[in-house]
């Protein structure tokens, strides 16, 4: 596999630059996201929020796109369930349902950024950001796109808030809200960082890697890795190892 290089990166979290609801409102207006849910707005904020590091205003139309999340737009899924619980089944709001799918955010991002390259929504609970990085490398290696934008999003909601009480072994604390945008390619350019990432070992044998430790977020990043991602002036190799809560 060719090396993977990080051309640009923005990370919004409580460990780095936080995003306020005012920031999200600004993104909603700037990107005409009147009907989009908060999950999609968070994904758009990854590249369009005024706060944070500079990010290219335009990308090549053939840029690939991956969104990755563990819980996905669970607040919108629950809003659809509110409809089902509170109203007759033929009175469900179609806009809620259509925004409750994992790839709705990717669809909006493609439209906002006018990119039509290969587009994927990835989901999982075993360090899914690392599965998405491996997919990015696969697509770039296949020359399916010249660059790839990887957006990680985890949104807080009633489910994440209840998670520590429901599954304390897996979620010792509430999963962090985090948004990150990683513009990736297989070419080293000025200011880019080589990304060296491991695969989640799963439960198979032969990787020589121990089971991951508890992560700060459900994407599989530790607090240190989140801070490291946000170091815009650092051009040293970026070494990322998957971390997550205890296996089920």
């Amino acid at each position: 596999m060719p090396d993977l290089y990080l051309q640009n990166c923005r990370v919004f979290s409580r460990f780095t630059t936080p995003l306020s609801e005012d920031d999200l409102k600004a993104v909603r207006i700037a990107c005409s996201l009147r009907r989009a849910d908060r999950f999609t707005t968070l994904a758009a904020a990854a590249v369009k929020a005024p706060a944070g590091q500079a990010f290219p205003a335009t990308l090549p139309p053939s840029t690939g796109l991956i969104t990755v999340s563990a819980f996905g737009p669970h607040k919108t899924v629950f809003a659809t369930l509110d409809d089902i619980l509170d109203y007759p089944e033929d009175m469900i709001l179609p806009v809620r349902f259509s925004h409750s799918v994992h790839n709705a955010a990717a669809a909006y991002l493609g439209t906002i950024l006018a990119i039509t390259g290969p587009t994927f929504a990835v989901t999982g609970f075993e360090a899914p950001l690392f599965a998405a990085l491996e997919l990015a490398q696969t697509l770039l290696h296949a020359a399916a796109c010249p660059k790839l934008l990887l957006i990680g999003v985890e949104e807080r909601g009633s489910l994440t808030q209840a998670a520590p009480a429901l599954a304390p072994e897996r979620f010792p604390t509430e999963p962090e809200e985090i948004v990150c945008a990683m513009l990736l390619s297989t070419e080293a350019t000025a200011g880019s960082r080589r990304v060296i990432h491991e695969r989640h070992p799963g439960t198979g044998t032969g990787t020589g890697t121990s089971q991951p430790a508890a992560a700060a977020c459900t994407l599989g990043l530790s607090e240190a890795a989140i801070r490291q991602l946000a170091e815009s002036d650092n051009t040293a190799d970026l070494r990322l190892s998957p971390e997550h809560a205890a296996d089920l």
Partner: protein, 395 residues
Amino acid sequence: MMSTTHNLAGVIGKGMISTLGNTVAETRGALYQPVPRLPELPRRVATTLSLPVFEVADLAPDTGIPGGFSLQLLRHALREALDDAKLAGGDLAGKRVGVCMGTTVACQLNDIPFYATLRSGALPPARPLNNYIAGNPAEWIRRELGLNGPALTISNACSSGADAIGIGLLWIRQGLCDLVIAGGTDELNRVPLVGFNALGVCAPGPCRPFDADRAGLNLGEAAGVVILAPADAAAGDRAVCAVAGYGNSADAFHITQPDPEGHGLERAIRLSLDSAGMIQPGDIDFINAHGTGTPANDRVEAIVFHRLFGAAARFLSTKALTGHTLGAAGAIECILTLLMLEESTVPASMRFERLAADMPCGPLRSPCRLPAAQWALSTSLAFGGANSALVMRRR
């Protein structure tokens, strides 16, 4: 035409469950029946809606597995695919085995009683959350089989299953895996049923893909799994058929509607033909279309097929036989396409009778024997303007 064997992923095992049958053998027989099964009102899914669906009836619910019925369907298809590939658990040890699965329902926690308790302010039982987490399809297979290769669950709505197989092809080509377990699964569930109804895309009767009187889709449920191996390795070399090409492109147009001119779909098809070794549209013997039966989807596909393959484009939809199985659709339609290549016969596009005025061409009205058929295409379109195309080849 230019293609090379080393770019192929031999299909060494197949497993499938849908209303066409609980096995590939049953499916093969039912595929060519002149009078297909009709969709019926849901039995397992409690709903007040009178919408006909294609519901798998003969698989007893199994509580000994995490996740919902989607995972039970997946396990059923997975076991058949592994048996078909003559792979026992021990055969996978020491191999680099990747898992790539598509789904929509299995990656949403849409357990209504769980949520009703949560929103009331009480703490619901933990089981639905734990089952949801443990039921991520690719991660579940990796744990179940003790694998250590890549595990990727794709939720690209209705193209998820095709995308999963396409990524499996790339993993094989790039030497990342010795074997790939790829496919998709989705159960009938109340949430998508009421959601699709709210979108106004469900047909009140049996769906009629590409017909002038088409009035929408029927939802269905299914799982399809293929085992892929490099065609230049021993196992892959013995495979009768292979996955040969893959293309994926986004419309960047609308959250639920396809680009009416189908530019994204055309790009995906062209990319898949290039990926199959720079083959030309004229090399494609037939197309298994997405063909949901909705006015917008079918019109776009017909326009693109006419533009790329000409007025004589040979295509069909199998959704009148299985319903629209969402995240499983691309996977089971890949398997159905492989069966058509193996049988050298393409069935009629069921319930197509009359071409609409806004459609430049229509699907097959009767079965078509194609003894020399070598190349086939399967297309998938999804919510959010995702387009995928898989090229399959008989060797």
